[in-house]
Symmetry: C2
Subunit: 199 residues, 2 copies
């Protein structure tokens, strides 16, 4: 019941606990992939072969589960930002990163909404990961804007919202893979600065 009863290191110490942990993650991965991020947690527990109370013991919130499933992808994405800045010009770096972010965000139905919610809610277990994404977006965007290739009337939060919106659109119908690319290319064209045209 008390805090000392929680996982000391972030992982269960006993072998049976670690097996349960792993089973829960596999079950959650499958269930979220099939039914989206707001699938039934009872269903996840059922697939893992444990009680719903056990799921709650290992992952106190749905976001904690998501965080564990997504952390690797998010961390890599943050690192990618640095790589891209080093190897490409500012505009191309931003565009390449946006494409990778959209892929991660479209992994589960409902994930774009979860990411947007986590950005705003400091209490979410996903919050620090998403704040990391914002920091990366901020870097890339600021450079691209200074270079003059990207419109200036946009901040990192709006950029993340727009990318997630495209990931959302991709998930809304059963489209071919390159329909997803098309949504993204719409956004990217829209981001690109160009001479003023008559309105």
């Amino acid at each position: 019941m008390n805090d000392a009863d929680a996982w000391p290191t972030g992982l269960p110490v006993r072998a049976d606990g670690r097996r349960t942990h792993e089973h829960l993650l596999v079950a959650a991965q499958k269930t979220f992939a099939e039914q989206g991020t707001d699938a039934s947690l009872r269903e996840v527990a059922r697939r893992a072969g444990v009680s719903i109370a056990t799921l709650y013991r290992h992952f106190p919130t749905r976001e904690a589960l998501l965080q564990t499933l997504l952390q690797h992808g998010f961390d890599k994405l943050r690192a990618r930002a640095a790589d891209l800045i080093a190897s490409l010009d500012p505009g191309q770096a931003l565009v390449a990163w946006i494409r990778e972010l959209a892929l991660v965000s479209a992994r589960y139905d409902g994930l774009p909404a979860s990411v947007m919610a986590a950005l705003q809610d400091p209490g979410s277990t996903l919050h620090s990961s998403c704040a990391g994404l914002r920091a990366a977006a901020d870097d890339l965007l600021a450079r691209a804007q200074r270079s003059g290739h990207i419109r200036a009337d946009l901040d990192a939060d709006q950029l993340l919202a727009a990318v997630n919106a495209m990931a959302w659109a991709t998930r809304q119908a059963s489209w071919t893979a390159d329909a997803g690319d098309r949504f993204l290319s719409l956004l990217i064209e829209g981001l690109t600065a160009r001479p003023i045209r008559p309105t």
Copy 2:
């Protein structure tokens, strides 16, 4: 129980029935506005002061409720398409219509998703309204594309998805009104055809 027991004309015939109908609509409007399109229907019934079974008698599905709330807006939007085609050049007509559609679609949280679902599901009560929107979008888009002002690699379904995605984005954070405009302008810039640039 049988079909003859349903509303013969689409409206209750007795005065008390019509009052209940109206109360349900007012309650649904408020509840959806506050909590989004997937708010509790029991809550709606509670606010209307009737039993949940009565709500189901008047509106057999959540979509039926939405359809009644949105039909006016959707019908006007279809008519607007004809007006805009008559009074503006093809590119401007499409852009103006897109702005109006985005306003309607952002009325409730969750509405963009409902619209996308209704487009794909012929069984949805919202389907015919949404199919009407697609027909309008089809007209406007085809003309704009023939005029050469709008990129050609896009169909009406993808256009509707993209506009709804921007409505979705606007709803995801508590943004100022013109952040919504900015999302839309990103899309509109992206739609606009322009000379090929080096990739």
